[in-house]
């Protein structure tokens, strides 16, 4: 008993007091910024491993970006990654970073039904489905519930059964072999329900986008309520994205 009390005392306070204002130090790669000015745009397009960089006008699509940072290492005068970890939004247009853009990424509040905030604002239970995920986004989702990040303090929890859930959160690029199970899990959630994509692989297929082993057709049928970019997303990206959506 006394041993336990000593351990608890020595452990001290380890939780992050406020995940909304918490800062992740560099060299963490969060929201990128593009400086105006001439550069070899074609070279940048060619080096991006996931085709996230496009020209006319020059832009980076965070739905595709795998946050490897190659563009910033090779063209530091053009692209840099800030440590802003708030990347999630419900509007895919807002995931596209253009030249000179330094504004933060947030949800478009006009797109969120009032019912969502009313019903899930203080209690959100999600069922996570891994559909080809590499276990990194899953790792960070689990971390989001640990004693440091403690997303349970906002009433956000991951539950075992889709029947108990208010929505599905998908990780991974959605493989053919998992597509049917994902659909069944989604159908089992009672309405109103959320559908959330977590991690670059889920958002666009990421590095697997051109694989014939994927079947992303479910995305044609189900509207997406939140896109959480990252490879994998930092727990603070996940928590702040969910909070922006529901509270």
């Amino acid at each position: 008993m006394f041993d336990e009390i000593k351990i608890i005392r020595h452990n001290g306070r380890q939780f992050i007091p406020d995940p909304v204002t918490a800062v992740v130090p560099a060299p963490y790669r969060g929201r990128p910024e593009i400086r105006p000015g001439k550069t070899d745009e074609q070279a940048l397009v060619a080096l991006c491993p996931t085709g996230a960089i496009k020209t006319g006008p020059f832009r980076i699509d965070l739905a595709r970006c795998c946050f490897c940072g190659e563009c910033a290492f090779r063209f530091p005068e053009k692209v840099s990654f800030t440590n802003d970890h708030k990347l999630a939004t419900n509007d895919p247009e807002r995931l596209i970073i253009r030249e000179g853009q330094t504004e933060a990424i947030r949800c478009d509040q006009t797109r969120i039904a009032k019912q969502i905030k009313k019903m899930f604002g203080r209690s959100l239970k999600l069922r996570q489905v891994s559909a080809g995920g590499d276990n990194s986004a899953e790792f960070e989702l689990n971390a989001g519930g640990n004693a440091n990040f403690d997303m349970g303090r906002y009433g956000i929890e991951f539950v075992a059964s889709p029947r108990h859930a208010d929505g599905i959160l998908v990780t991974g690029p959605i493989t053919k072999n998992m597509a049917a199970a994902l659909q069944i899990a989604y159908d089992a959630v009672p309405a109103p329900k959320l559908f959330i994509l977590c991690g670059t692989d889920a958002l666009s297929g990421g590095i697997f986008a051109d694989s014939p082993a994927l079947d992303r057709s479910i995305l044609d049928k189900i509207p997406v309520d939140l896109y959480i970019p990252g490879n994998p997303p930092h727990p603070l990206t996940i928590i702040n994205g969910l909070l922006d959506l529901i509270s």
């Binding site: 041993d3 336990e4 000593k6 351990i7 608890i8 020595h10 452990n11 380890q14 560099a26 060299p27 963490y28 790669r29 080096l47 491993p49 996931t50 795998c66 946050f67 490897c68 940072g69 190659e70 290492f73 990654f81 996570q128 489905v129 891994s130 559909a131 080809g132 995920g133 590499d134 276990n135 990194s136 986004a137 899953e138 790792f139 960070e140 971390a143 640990n146 004693a147 991951f158 075992a160 059964s161 991974g172 690029p173 493989t175 053919k176 072999n177 998992m178 049917a180 199970a181 899990a185 692989d201 990421g206 697997f208 051109d210 694989s211 014939p212 082993a213 994927l214 490879n231 994998p232």
Partner: protein, 507 residues
């Protein structure tokens, strides 16, 4: 590089050789040579695969000899005209069962005498496109007394998918069979399709996100060997440090998860918090908590330096203080021991039969560790002595993690006390021209066990075939076997004590 009686080629870890230097034997001679090689207790098969070669298939097997620190490579070839039927080696060498199943699934080769030639992962490029994921031929026992429990593919919790089928007698499990493949993304095919070095590196990092360093290191070693890129001592050592940090982080996370599964809240929370310190250190080094971005071919964007060295020593000492205090308590609690002791025992014999690797082998008394037997990266300069336990139960796997964390910390400190790190590390290369018509095998010891990447190049140095093997390929069988005659309620702690990879198996 030498050949023994012209039956097989002997090479070392991360060697590249001309494809035509690998002896091609008639199948009967091939099987005889493989059987002879695998009779010795210090050998095991690290990879066996087939790839299209002109109008037929070429099969290459790689057998590691841990005492001689050698890799024996031999092959056989089958023409399309000769039919696609071969006598299975599995009845005599059960450890090969998965490799033969994989070759059967991908190329339609029929291994006669194989006891369970079932689909492996329902790969996109499988020979039998009609094979249906939802109609996997599970074993069944027709009996009035027995019942089956089906779990998955979606499991309770934030976890990857797989289908588990238990045949139970009351509460006791008679047999467990695991069907995987849900995570199949077609990694090996994509490796050929992607032409950029960086694209391939990102792909290697995504084979299993919790082993990003282990797999990307195995990949980088293949590319550097085939392209003849020399590596500095400093880079080799940095990579080994990153690999050991990955091991410490995942091991401590698994210790926490095992505590969670037995409702030991103090252990679950504080061991979990300890992991945060380590992965945040990794992030302060390379920008990513899982070490993505750390390993690049030929160099690094994140050179280790004296500041990072000081911070690492600080991070390790604050980690160690709490880790030692808590593990002194947690590992001696009767309620913890009682729950883990004698549960899910895998015998040494079983481990040898299925060709178990890594942690699972080392908990049954088999000293199988690539860091020692086929040293790579920094382990060439600073030898690593593996931790070996003998009981093979859940408690052994719980304990091995604690001991490996201590050993890894000691290894890192030893390295840091002898090395100085100047910032002049090489930058990554962006283009590499690979040696034509060659074969390369690269092994690393990730936290789960040995990772093996093999590559075959074509006449113009193009990548013709790429083979990835995660340690989970061997070790899932260990979970199935060790669950026999246990209560089904012991499945969660048993499963967690292995913490095997679904995506690493499914590719």
């Amino acid at each position: 590089m030498k050949t023994d009686h012209k039956k097989y080629l002997i090479i070392s870890n991360s060697d590249s050789v001309r494809l035509d230097a690998i002896p091609v034997l008639p199948y009967a001679d091939f099987t005889a040579a493989v059987e002879t090689l695998l009779l010795k207790p210090e050998t095991h098969c690290v990879n066996y695969f087939a790839f299209p070669d002109h109008d037929g298939l070429k099969f290459i097997i790689c057998i590691a000899d841990d005492l001689q620190k050698e890799l024996c490579v031999l092959s056989h070839k089958q023409d399309a005209s000769g039919g696609r039927e071969l006598a299975s080696l599995t009845p005599r060498i059960p450890a090969l069962h998965l490799f033969e199943r994989e070759i059967h699934e991908n190329f339609g080769v029929f291994f006669t005498g194989h006891p369970w030639l079932k689909p492996l992962r329902y790969a996109q490029e499988r020979a039998d496109q009609a094979a249906d994921m939802n109609a996997y031929p599970f074993y069944r026992i027709d009996s009035e007394e027995l019942h089956e429990v089906s779990v998955g593919p979606v499991h309770a919790g934030i976890i990857e998918p797989g289908q588990f089928r238990f045949i139970c007698n009351g509460e006791n499990v008679l047999h467990l069979e695991i069907q995987l493949g849900y995570q199949h993304r077609g990694i090996e095919r994509l490796m050929l399709k992607k032409d950029g070095l960086l694209q391939r590196t990102i792909l290697a990092e995504s084979i299993a996100g919790d082993t990003a360093v282990g797999h990307s290191l195995a990949f980088a070693q293949v590319m550097e060997s085939l392209a003849g890129i020399p590596l500095s001592r400093q880079l080799a050592i940095e990579r080994a440090i990153a690999l050991e940090l990955e091991r410490i982080a995942i091991h401590i996370g698994d210790i926490a998860a095992l505590c969670t599964d037995i409702a030991y809240a103090l252990g679950a929370n504080i061991f979990g918090i300890l992991r945060t310190g380590i992965i945040n250190y990794t992030q302060s080094w390379c920008g990513n908590r899982l070490g993505k971005g750390m390993v690049r071919v030929g160099g690094t964007y994140h050179p280790f330096n004296e500041t990072l060295k000081k911070n690492l020593l600080d991070a390790l000492s604050s980690f160690e203080k709490m880790f030692v205090e808590l593990s002194h308590r947690a590992y001696k609690l009767p309620s913890v021991e009682n729950r883990f002791d004698d549960i899910g025992t895998l015998s040494e014999q079983q481990a040898r039969t299925i060709g178990a690797v890594g942690m699972v082998a080392r908990t049954t008394g088999i000293p199988r560790d690539i860091r020692m037997s086929h040293p790579f990266a920094g382990f060439k300069y600073y030898p690593y002595e593996p931790v070996v336990l003998s009981k093979g139960d859940v408690f052994s796997r719980f304990l091995l993690r604690r001991k490996e964390i201590k050993r890894s910390m000691a290894w890192i400190r030893d390295v840091l006390s002898h090395e100085t790190f100047d910032e002049a590390s090489e930058r990554p290369v962006t283009l590499a021209s690979l040696a034509p018509d060659s074969f390369c095998i690269s092994l690393t010891e990730g936290w789960r066990g040995e990772i093996c990447h093999c590559a075959v190049t074509g006449p113009s140095g193009d990548l013709r075939f790429y083979k990835v093997k995660d340690p989970s390929l061997h070790n899932w069988k260990a979970l199935e076997l060790s669950l026999r005659n246990l209560e089904i309620s012991d499945f969660p702690i048993n499963n967690k004590s292995y913490d095997l990879s679904y995506c690493g198996f499914d590719l």
